[in-house]
């Protein structure tokens, strides 16, 4: 049985960092020469990649698109997004 608390904590971090990326990118679309915002955005990209790598290593596929899967196909082993276990409280 996977360590569910750590898994959800990591998933929460990943989603939160992803949200920072979305919002900073919207800002950059109208402020493309804001160096500080760009630096922050790029540092969140780094964090995002690190967190996703860690998730893939410890808990399985974080997404279908860019996670490797051992045999057999692992994606269907995860709870579906609408299931209780796939979600967290903020």
């Amino acid at each position: 049985m996977k360590d569910n608390t750590n898994m959800m904590e990591l998933k929460k971090q990943i989603m939160a960092v992803h949200f920072m990326l979305e919002d900073l990118q919207l800002y950059l679309n109208t402020h493309p020469t804001d160096r500080e915002a760009l630096a922050k955005r790029n540092s969140y990209v780094k964090q995002y990649k690190m967190l996703r790598d860690e998730y893939n290593k410890c808990f399985g596929m974080i997404s279908q698109d860019d996670s490797f899967s051992p045999y057999p196909w692992q994606w269907i082993e995860e709870p579906w997004p609408w299931e209780y276990e796939a979600n967290f409280k903020l």
């Binding site: 971090q13 939160a16 949200f19 800002y27 922050k40």
Partner: protein
Amino acid sequence: MAYILKPEAEKYDANCMPTSKCIPQETEIRNVRLAAAYVPWQKMCQLFNPIEALKRGTAFPELYSPFDPPYEPQKVYKAIKASKCD
């Protein structure tokens, strides 16, 4: 040319108090036109941490603007129910 200047009394409210330094309070608009809306230019100041941002729906504290309900829904519901008695 036109200036938009917020009245002194409206500069600080509960929501923008901590970030009022980050919100331009005086803005110069050139070639102002009638029937057009103007939005102050945002300048990134501080950011919420990621979890806080996800909770509040924005990474930018000066854009965080929750709607506080002006009434208690329960009270309104009870009032409506009571008024239907006769």
